[in-house]
């Protein structure tokens, strides 16, 4: 290895002062004496300096809030030692949820039985199914009698926050309440009401990480952007995301997805989509979201007898708004010219 090669390999070490004093002195002596290495050293230092010019970005405050919320909930869980007790084997009046095979509970218990004689699951956030006799209910809270629970515990389900309760004063009966984390897979046609409800629920739940929300919107776009699958409930959910999500990247995906929906298949929901886009165009603080709202609104502006007057008026105002982004104004003007009003 030539001296020059060796010295050049040592240049990053010189920058971070990771070379010993003898090595550092030898390297600098070589650089001073070698024009080629001096040029390389100069470029190396310049590159090092340029890298520092990419300044740190502030962490959005919502990340801190989300983390502290989660820490608080974890702290609550830590204060009570999770306990798993065996269920008493009882005569089983159940049959396994099987016909629709809508749920696979990995590492969890099976919920089973017909609806007859079953205490319905209760609680907020419950998602109603179009099926006349849903066998598995996705809900925040479920209240079940022991004979509805399969005695076997499959795998190692994550059970926490276990509390033992009196069973409403019935002599000889006990109760326990706990949080159960399950992995659930639901399959079916895109138009199945349970899947539509689930998609809308996931879109509307801002507690999910932003990547999950973006992925959910992408999935909705891939799934519900055709005339056969377009659904008003999805429009409502996307409009909610566009109005309420704190992250501009998520709102950007929502606006793109609204713009990709087939207006002709949306019926009355098209007006709802247009209104959400008009609101975004007027009020969203992010330029990119407003820019995409122009394109989306242009896509959805057509109505049976021409173009939606509110959409046209909003685009006109944007095109002439002096304090708006110039590129956005041009796009609004282009959208209007393509309408041949």
């Amino acid at each position: 290895m030539s001296d020059c090669t060796l010295i050049r390999e040592q240049m990053p070490l010189l920058l971070t002062e990771s070379l010993g004093s003898a090595g550092r002195e030898a390297a600098h002596q070589h650089i001073e004496a070698c024009a080629s290495c001096e040029t390389e050293w100069s470029k190396t230092r310049e590159t090092w300096k340029l890298l520092a010019e990419a300044a740190d970005r502030p962490v959005p405050t919502r990340v801190r809030a989300r983390f502290l919320d989660e820490a608080a909930s974890m702290g609550g869980a830590m204060s009570r030692r999770p306990v798993v007790v065996p269920f008493t084997r009882k005569p089983v009046f159940r049959r396994l949820a099987q016909a629709a095979a809508i749920a696979v509970i990995a590492g969890g218990a099976y919920f089973a039985g017909s609806t007859r004689g079953t205490t319905p699951a209760t609680g907020t956030g419950m998602i109603a199914s179009a099926s006349p006799a849903p066998q598995f209910r996705i809900s925040e809270n479920a209240r079940l009698s022991a004979d509805q629970i399969a005695p076997e515990i499959a795998g190692s389900p994550a059970i926490s926050n276990v509390r033992f309760i009196d069973h409403e004063g019935r002599p000889g009966e006990v109760g326990m309440t706990f949080d159960l984390t399950q992995k659930v897979t639901v399959t079916g046609k895109a138009t199945d009401q349970s899947l539509v409800n689930l998609a809308a629920y996931v879109l509307g739940d801002s507690d999910h990480p932003t990547t999950s929300r973006s992925n959910a919107i992408q999935w909705v776009r891939d799934t519900y952007s055709t005339g056969q699958t377009a659904d008003p409930q999805i429009v409502t959910a996307l409009s909610g995301v566009l109005r309420n999500d704190a992250h501009e990247g998520v709102r950007l995906k929502a606006v793109e997805t609204l713009g990709s929906l087939p207006a002709a298949s949306l019926g009355g929901a098209a007006a709802q989509a247009r209104q959400a886009l008009i609101d975004a165009l007027q009020n969203d603080p992010n330029t990119n979201v407003r820019l995409k709202a122009v394109e989306a609104l242009a896509n959805l502006a057509a109505v049976p007898d021409g173009f939606d007057p509110a959409a046209v008026e909003t685009l006109r105002k944007k095109a002439s708004q002096n304090d708006e982004n110039p590129y956005l104004r041009v796009k609004a003007a282009e959208a209007l010219s393509q309408m041949n009003l």
Binding site: S18, E53, A54, D56, A71, M74, P209, N288, Y327
Partner: protein, 202 residues
């Protein structure tokens, strides 16, 4: 409120080891102090690594949740920052491994980054252009090289610490930093590459 503020003020005086000792004992009250101490470094490492603000936010949150959840694994032999960067780097590598999560441009970042009021528009434009070139140049590196240069240049970690985070030898870190610098030099100081500026959207 006063009690809370006093407690927090006292917390900020504690060392990382002392705070982690509390967490290991099941007391999560140091969570905010630890977050405030390291979140900017963690977030910016993840953002530069992934070039995606959403993924960087998620990674940052996940790192601190893992810090609480797996506090018992922190044995105090390494610095807390080294341990946190290990978790971050793992999350970022996992993210990139997924087929749909190739490092992607996040142009809205340029539009939404606030510009310091005291700088002239010309200065702001030049700075943003430099930032864009640097971010693009970093994406030309392999993930291993990018990880090494980010930890060395932006976090000021030693090669030994980087080796620990990356799970490789110090020699490998040295090679990765050298190769990264060679690529970056070509992209950032070579006149041909340096003048290749493209206009971003207005």
């Amino acid at each position: 409120m006063r009690v809370e503020m006093t407690e927090k003020a006292e917390m900020t005086d504690l060392t990382d080891q002392e705070l982690m000792g509390l967490v290991q004992a099941g007391d999560y009250s140091p969570a905010a102090v630890l977050y405030d101490r390291y979140s900017t470094r963690i977030y910016n490492f993840a953002y530069r690594f992934l070039r995606n603000s959403e993924a960087a936010e998620d990674a940052t949150q996940e790192v601190f949740v893992k810090m609480l959840r797996h506090a018992h694994q922190f044995n105090g032999e390494a610095k807390l920052s080294t341990w946190l960067f290990s978790i971050t780097a793992n999350l970022c590598r996992d993210h990139l491994r997924k087929a749909d999560n190739k490092a992607k441009d996040d142009e809205d970042a340029l539009l939404t980054m606030p510009a310091p009021a005291e700088h002239s528009p010309q200065h702001v434009l030049e700075t943003r252009e430099t930032e864009r070139r640097v971010r693009e140049a970093l994406q030309k590196l392999t993930p291993e090289q990018r990880e090494a240069i980010l930890l060395s240049r932006y976090q000021g970690l030693s090669y030994a610490e980087i080796a620990q985070i990356s799970g490789c030898s110090e020699g490998a870190v040295k090679t990765r930093v050298f190769r990264a610098m060679e690529t970056l030099k070509k992209l950032l100081t070579d006149p041909v590459n340096g003048d290749t500026r493209c206009l971003t959207a207005l």
